[in-house]
Symmetry: C2
Subunit: 304 residues, 2 copies
């Protein structure tokens, strides 16, 4: 193997790494659940060596590029946020340099902070995926990265103009795990398209308080057997994703299809919702964007 670099995405609950050649092609890959939260006494060096050790010995001196929560306060080293509007070129320039690991230079990609609303909004990891998307076509684009914290970001010119986070996924996970809605929910049930669409419809014209009221319908429809336990998760998902989509599209849907960047499962839900709201959208596998972005960051910083 001609390993030219090691790329990693080290998050709070799991991590992934790729050994790549000079062209960024994957030579080997690794994945485990040793997220940052599981690293005791901040022993990140040891933990990372255990993870990719033989790559390090096989290719002495090759650079390590990392993105994600590894650059947060609770990560290996804090990589200060770059403020929006941010140029993609700022990412390479503001990568944080760590002391070499066994002779391998290490860099962590900074996150972004957006203060457009008056309070800070942040991302870590998504900025690298956005850069990967931009490298493909270099066009302005409205993007959504669904997840625990869904991010809506606007690519404009050669950078990210701004973004907003929605806690949709976390609120869904919380309400699905404990409480009076979770009690009635069959959690292992497959996606129910009808219930999801019913939830999306119920999100229409709701104020913030209206959402706190509508959420209760996920319980009462179950209580009255007007929604089977198997359908409650899909209904709740539609209600929350619908609220997010309506807010994100409140200024009107863009002419260019919205880039939906996430897992296949989440992308399908967002595409379904966006289609019902008359917005054009294109699903993009988030995994395909990270490596080209890290490759380009490695080149721009003359590490590769």
């Amino acid at each position: 193997m001609n390993i030219a670099a090691i790329f990693a995405d080290w998050g709070t609950t799991n991590r992934r790494a790729w050994a790549v050649d000079r062209a960024g092609s994957v030579l080997d890959r690794r994945q485990d659940d040793h997220g940052l939260l599981g690293v005791k006494d901040r022993a990140f060096e040891t933990s990372f060596r255990d993870f990719v050790g033989n790559w390090l010995t096989q290719a002495p001196g090759t650079p390590i590029l990392m993105a994600g929560m590894v650059g947060s306060k609770l990560g290996w080293r804090e990589a200060p946020y770059v403020a929006t509007p941010a140029r993609f070129a700022d990412l390479a320039q503001q990568m944080v340099e760590l002391p070499p690991l066994d002779g391998h230079p290490i860099r962590i990609v900074p996150g972004l902070v957006c203060r457009a609303s008056g309070t800070p909004d942040v991302m870590r990891g998504e900025e690298t995926q956005l850069f990967g998307l931009w490298l493909q076509a270099r066009t302005d684009r409205l993007c959504v990265l669904p997840g625990t914290h869904s991010k809506w970001a606007e690519i404009k010119g050669d950078g990210v103009a701004g973004f907003r986070t929605y806690m949709t996924g976390e609120v869904f996970a919380n309400l699905s795990s404990t409480g009076t809605i979770a009690q009635l929910m069959r959690k292992d049930a497959p996606h129910d398209a009808g219930a999801f669409q019913r939830g999306l419809a119920a999100s229409e014209s709701q104020s913030a308080g209206g959402l706190l009221n509508r959420l209760f319908s996920a319980r009462t429809l179950g209580l009255f057997a007007e929604l089977p336990g198997e359908a409650i998760a899909s209904y709740l998902s539609g209600l929350l994703i619908g609220a997010e989509l309506r807010e994100a599209l409140s200024g009107g849907a863009p002419a260019q299809p919205i880039a939906v960047i996430g897992s296949a499962r989440m992308n399908a839900l967002y595409l379904e919702g966006l289609a019902l709201m008359g917005a054009k959208a294109e699903a993009i596998d988030g995994d395909t964007l990270l490596r080209p972005a890290l490759l380009e960051l490695g080149r721009q910083s003359r590490l590769m």
Copy 2:
């Protein structure tokens, strides 16, 4: 003791009971945490006998009147919901009769269902408090009963015209117990009036999706040390209660002060929020309303 009746409020997590005389004055009281969820194999009879046994033997044949979740599917016996608009007289007429317990007649007050929004909304226990309030003055009144599930109800004429539930308390409890906001929150901190007001202000003009976005500020303000961990719970509380109040007042505040019926702690928060939004309100201790209502229900049903 001249016990004339036994009143009880048996909820999911705890229960209270009062031995009262013919005038409804309290002769003895009892309270424990044997909520309905803790009763095994539906042994409600045994559980209730253990709770108030010596009252039963002291005053043979006296009636037992109960309100709350004891009348739900998971309770002792389901008392079908009365549909709004509902007259208070319907409560006495539609109480559910159980087989006597050791010679004591038992009745459970029905809950209410409101279908004004198209989906069912329900209450159990609050209808009895609303009846207690109405008995005091017999006037039309907008009422809020804060709690895990906050209820906004409209007393009109001689009954409840309709109501809406907001999951404000449950969403607050969920986000405060696990997840990325809870991580930064100092949970034992005292109420922070400034942070509560900041949260109330942040709830202004938010759509349903806007709330999912604004919730993230409870995390990021903490991350950026713009809000100390001790203040995050109060901020989140202001954000959620603010959203509820704005929706509930979206049709304009009533001329008559809003009746805020709950615990001293919750009443104080709602009064603070309502005052900031320019709505007149009056705090009423929810506990003072239940017994007069049960007394009147006992009389109307000729049990007392």
